[in-house]
């Protein structure tokens, strides 16, 4: 969503050699990095670490999104973490950011995942899970923006229970560096100018979206990301969009990854990424 003005300006003739593809699942993005067809990619930060540590030729350029995940549901008996005890919570996929963040927050709040709280992975994609919560098949679910806002709009019984970004701040003084913007090494080496141009365009786009959420919402509907401008405005405000160059938040990114590395080294690809991970 932060990129929407950039997408729009590309469609209006500027830089017609750049094409933006919006995919539903991070694994689809990663596929394009494995086969090398993506020059730039936006994906969860933990997956960016995996991609880098497994030797794929991509580096972290920026962190454009700082917390989009919410616990939402129609279960009215849950207001605090303790109320989750004995409940079934639907989560998209094991090992992905919503799952590992939720497990982290459960543990920090004194609950043991899969003992005190049942984690249900029956709805394996973001969209399946959002539909399940919207239709009432799932009482409580961990859902990311913009789908969380959409579900809350479509089913009046569903409300926000927790913002993961807010809950995270209670235990950590580093921000939730949830999303990564990566560039391919080839492009960095051979066309640094393009990388810089895209960085500034993406940065300007994100600033514009935050400043003029109503206009941005119009574009978000125009490009079929959301069906409704009201939902888009709300979702922009709940997505913590802020484009920051990776070089300016290196310690924060490392601290963020380290938390997950300590939970399970596989989440960051077996180690904490080295110096070269971050583009300067």
């Amino acid at each position: 969503m932060g990129m929407i003005r950039l997408i729009d300006s590309l469609n209006n003739g500027e830089g017609h050699n750049v094409r933006v593809l919006i995919l539903n699942e991070p694994l689809q993005v990663r596929k394009m990095m494995i086969d090398g067809s993506a020059d730039f990619a936006v994906l969860p930060a933990t997956m960016a670490a995996i991609v880098y540590n497994k030797g794929l030729e991509y580096r972290l350029v920026a962190v454009p999104v700082w917390g989009t995940i919410y616990l939402i549901g129609s279960d009215t008996t849950v207001s605090g973490w303790k109320d989750l005890k004995g409940k079934r919570v639907h989560v998209m996929a094991r090992g992905m950011t919503p799952d590992v963040l939720f497990r982290y927050l459960l543990e920090e709040n004194g609950l043991i995942p899969e003992k005190d709280v049942t984690l249900d992975y029956s709805f394996p994609t973001h969209i399946d899970l959002a539909n399940a919560v919207a239709s009432g098949q799932a009482d409580i679910g961990v859902v990311s923006e913009p789908l969380a806002s959409l579900v809350i709009k479509n089913n009046r019984a569903v409300r926000q229970i927790f913002s993961f970004e807010q809950e995270w701040k209670k235990f950590q003084d580093i921000p939730l560096a949830e999303t990564a913007f990566m560039a391919k090494n080839d492009v960095i080496r051979n066309n640094r100018q393009l990388v810089e141009k895209i960085i500034s365009a993406y940065e300007a786009s994100t600033e514009w979206v935050n400043q003029y959420p109503d206009s941005a919402a119009g574009l978000i509907v125009k490009y079929n990301i959301l069906p409704d401008t009201g939902v888009a405005v709300r979702s922009i405000k709940r997505s913590n969009l802020k484009f920051v160059r990776a070089g300016d938040v290196k310690p924060q990114v490392e601290a963020y990854l380290n938390i997950f590395y300590r939970m399970n080294p596989d989440i960051t690809g077996g180690k904490i990424p080295d110096e070269n991970f971050i583009y300067r």
Binding site: D120, S122, P124
Partner: protein, 251 residues
């Protein structure tokens, strides 16, 4: 006779070696662990799996699911199969049901089961639906294959009903049950793991495969596949072994 047996073994070993060589060549061609890791690295990962503290819980959970699925489909398949074998009208009634279940893609059944059942029972349900039609059809065919004249002759000599079942029907249907079970387990075992990949119960081979895929541990995805293949092969062996035992009992 002895020579032809070792010849066969020799060819089987050659087949395995050729598969490994092709694997190694492909791995060298792609030259990257996240496209296709080399066989030696994958075998090392496989051995490491055996030492995982959760290994027994993971493999045990999948095995228990398949055994429960198998028992249910065995009871249901034999029960309905026997009735259909004896009663042609019931057979005509049952046939469209079996054809429908068999022609439904496994993935469609899984997607529905994900909505209907809890994660742990999805694979059991899937196993049951994939295995039961095989067993049922084979039992029916077995009973229908019984020589009518043999039954009439037995009745003519006033052999008791029990004796006819024990000495005419059971020997006739056992080979059918064995071959039905063998194909049923082959399909069921694969379906269970597919079900686990999608339903993600806490422990299960499929869960770990999906996990490994998420974390781009391609060697672990293949290592779990090897574990699944070994167990599938062992199932096959057990069935063959019980076939020999049952045939020995028959005479």
């Amino acid at each position: 006779m002895k020579i032809s047996f070792t010849d066969k073994q020799y060819v089987s070993i050659a087949s395995v070696v050729i598969m490994l060589v092709i694997w190694k060549i492909l791995a060298m061609h792609f030259g990257s662990d996240f496209v296709l890791p080399p066989p030696e690295k994958t075998f090392f990962t496989t051995f490491k799996l055996f030492t995982d503290s959760h290994f027994l819980a993971i493999v045990g959970s999948t095995l228990i699911r398949s055994i429960i699925g198998f028992i249910f489909s065995g009871i249901l398949g034999m029960g309905l199969g026997i009735i259909a074998g004896i009663n042609p009208l019931f057979n005509a009634f049952l046939r469209p049901v079996l054809v429908t279940i068999r022609s439904t893609p496994v993935i469609a059944l899984i997607l529905l089961a994900l909505i209907w059942f809890t994660p742990g029972s999805v694979p059991v349900f899937i196993a049951m639906l994939t295995m039961f039609p095989f067993i049922c059809t084979n039992v029916t065919d077995g009973i229908r294959s019984v020589d009518r004249e043999l039954v009439e002759m037995a009745q003519f000599y006033r052999a008791g009903r029990k004796r006819i079942i024990r000495e005419v029907y059971i020997p006739a249907i056992i080979p059918f049950i064995i071959s039905g079970t063998s194909s049923a387990i082959g399909f069921g075992w694969r379906a269970i793991i597919t079900g686990e990949v999608l339903s993600q119960p806490e422990y299960g081979i499929g869960t770990l495969m999906q996990n490994a895929q998420t974390f781009l541990n391609v060697d672990a995805v293949i290592a779990w596949t090897i574990v699944a293949v070994i167990i599938g092969y062992m199932f096959e062996k057990v069935i063959r072994w019980s076939e020999h035992k049952l045939i020995a009992w028959r005479f």
